[in-house]
Amino acid sequence: MALPKRIIKETERLMNEPVPGISAVPHEDNLRYFDVTIDGPSQSPYEGGLFKLELFLPDDYPMTPPKIRFLTKIYHPNIDRLGRICLDVLKSNWSPALQIRTILLSIQALLGAPNPDDPLANDVAQKWKEDQNAAIETARQWTQEHAKP
């Protein structure tokens, strides 16, 4: 199936005006599949890390949200061991007017502001609530170990 104009436009804009700290490059043989990287936000335990993600636009995009997950291991209360992300705009709050760009920005913001009250990775969220300083320290260590650019 030919690529819808919308996907072409979104890709063009991602290439021409990249969002600071974020890159998204489509695969040559599958233009619906993107290699994504997000820089860990400064002032967060993920600072200095470079996080790889994969993003896929399903056939009925934008009626359904992009499928996206972390490939780099990350210690975060809203991201589970398989890299799946608990983010409302990727699920119930998705709207076809949202774009790849806006979603990646939301994920970047989520790294800067973890939300242990709305967890996906339950054990991490639990630790985060019990001893936030220790959890942040672990997140920092994981970043050093797994997310080195």
């Binding site: 199936m1 919308r6 990249p18 009925d60 009626m63 709207s95 076809p96 007017a97």
Partner: protein, 480 residues
């Protein structure tokens, strides 16, 4: 090269109009003024070292007490006698860089009466606050005696500021006693070159401001004229103009994308300086050339209009550059003033008068006119694209919430049970029907985007066929 020379060279060689060059800051004359002032000060023993060490004493004292104690100041240098009650200047940190958001250009200005004041004891003639070496002290004392108690240079303090008077048991009995510093009189050191310096600078700044207003008006008219001309050349009611609309639209689209004077992306949303703007403009011209758009203009009127457009942009560039070098000149001359006199004027100067933002203000105004009076004459596709497919919103369906989608996307949403408007999440998709077709907008789109309408119409029909017969419909269609 010294700045004075660099400045002169820039004014001479960068092709500025003669009336601009005439309005430029006269750096070398101001420099001469400073030299005269330095010798005036030296005559009363106030060489920069003496003043500098005095100033440092005051600062150290203030720092130590965390209190701006006027009492301890042996001297004051006031640019305007009566300005301390002025409303606070917003963004005063930026005032010196010309990026201030305050309306610096419209602020009313008072003439400059700079004053260098010392305080002497009313009875003995002793100087208030020591810290002066004996020689200077003696000179000033002599000076105070010479000017005498009846001399106009001995000032009665106005009653407005009375820090010290609060701890006086009763108001001063006789009017000779200063309310601000009981027992002391202020003595003004007579200086003329400083008034000269500031009057000259002030009048040059207002000259620059007038120049800016004039240029702004002229460019505004120029753009409005061009706008009318382009509107005539691209009148969509004449079929022959259809191709031209597309060419002009593409030129303006590239122009908007080039972000010449201001960044509009997440990574750059700043005002560009002259160098960056020039670089962007170069890029814009290059893209226009590469797209082969000029060749598509058959009539000379179109070519002429494009040349005018390019010329206007070059003028904005020039005004940016002119503003920049003048602002640098002003900052440099004030720095020089302080370095050679140690009167510490730079700290107070921006509060007195702001640099008129020649460059960015003009660029902002003119750019706004370009978009309202020129670019708007030809509607851009981006302003009429459907938020879902990002293609032209054909046929346009206006939901109850006033958001517009193309009919194709509405159908897709309804079949997928997306009941909420993707933009405002109101439940307006579910009950939309053929009544929601926006007939007026449809006519407008047909008029301004004939090619895009045709293409979208074809696409919508194709997709409707796919809905009915499946993917195979598409292949059949393309064979036909």
């Amino acid at each position: 090269m010294k700045f004075g020379q660099t400045f002169k060279e820039a004014l001479k060689t960068e092709g500025f109009p003669p009336d601009w060059v005439e309005s430029a800051i006269s750096y070398s004359q101001l420099k001469k003024c400073i030299n005269r002032l330095t010798s005036e000060l030296a005559q009363v023993g106030l060489d920069p070292q003496t003043l500098g060490s005095l100033l440092k004493k005051v600062e150290d004292y203030n720092k130590a007490t965390e209190n701006d104690d006027v009492e301890s100041r042996p001297f004051e240098y006031l640019l305007n006698d009566d300005d301390s009650e002025e409303e606070p200047i917003d963004g005063n940190d930026n005032a010196a860089n010309g990026t201030t958001a305050s309306n610096g250009s419209s602020k009313k200005k008072r003439p400059f009466h700079p004053k260098l004041l010392f305080y002497v004891d009313e009875k003995t003639g002793d100087l208030h606050s020591a810290g002066l070496d004996e020689k200077t002290k003696r000179k000033l004392q002599m000076f105070a005696v010479q000017t005498g108690l009846s001399d106009i240079r001995v000032h009665e303090e106005s009653p407005r500021e009375s820090i010290a008077s609060t701890d006086l048991p009763s108001p001063p009995i006789n009017g000779h006693i200063s309310k601000r510093r009981p027992g002391y009189r202020t003595v003004e050191v007579p200086l003329t070159s400083d008034s000269e310096f500031f009057s000259m600078l002030a009048s040059e700044l207002s000259g620059l401001e007038r120049l800016q207003e004039r240029e702004e008006k002229r460019m505004h008219d120029e753009i409005a004229n061009l706008g009318m001309q382009v509107a005539k050349l691209t009148n969509p009611d004449r079929r022959a103009n259809r191709k031209l609309i597309a060419v002009w639209r593409q030129i303006f689209q590239i122009y908007l994308e080039s972000d010449i004077f201001f960044g509009t992306t997440e990574s750059d949303h700043s005002e560009h300086d002259a160098a960056k703007a020039a670089e962007r403009f170069q890029l814009f011209s290059q893209r226009i050339a590469e797209a082969g758009l000029v060749e598509k203009f058959k009539k000379p009127e179109n070519l002429k209009a494009l040349n005018t457009f390019m010329h206007i942009n070059q003028e904005i560039l020039q005004s940016l550059r002119f503003g920049e070098i003048n602002q640098t000149a002003m900052n440099k001359i004030l720095k020089k003033f302080d370095k050679q006199t140690a009167l510490d004027v730079k700290a107070t100067f921006p509060k007195q008068i702001a640099y008129p933002d020649f460059s960015t203000h003009l660029a902002k105004q003119v750019c706004r006119t370009i978009s309202t009076d020129l670019i708007c004459t030809i509607p851009q596709l981006d302003d009429y694209s459907c938020p879902m497919c990002m293609d032209l919103q054909w046929r346009p369906v206006r939901l109850r919430c006033n958001h517009v989608f193309c009919i194709r996307c509405l159908i897709v949403m309804q079949t997928n049970k997306q009941h909420l408007c993707p933009l405002c999440r109101e439940k307006t998709v579910i009950d939309a029907c053929s009544d929601n077709l926006d007939i007026e907008l449809a006519a407008y789109l047909k008029k301004w985007f004939p090619d895009e309408v045709k293409a979208k119409q074809k696409y919508n029909e194709l997709m409707a066929g796919v809905d009915e017969y499946g993917e195979v419909y598409k292949e059949k269609c393309s064979v036909m």
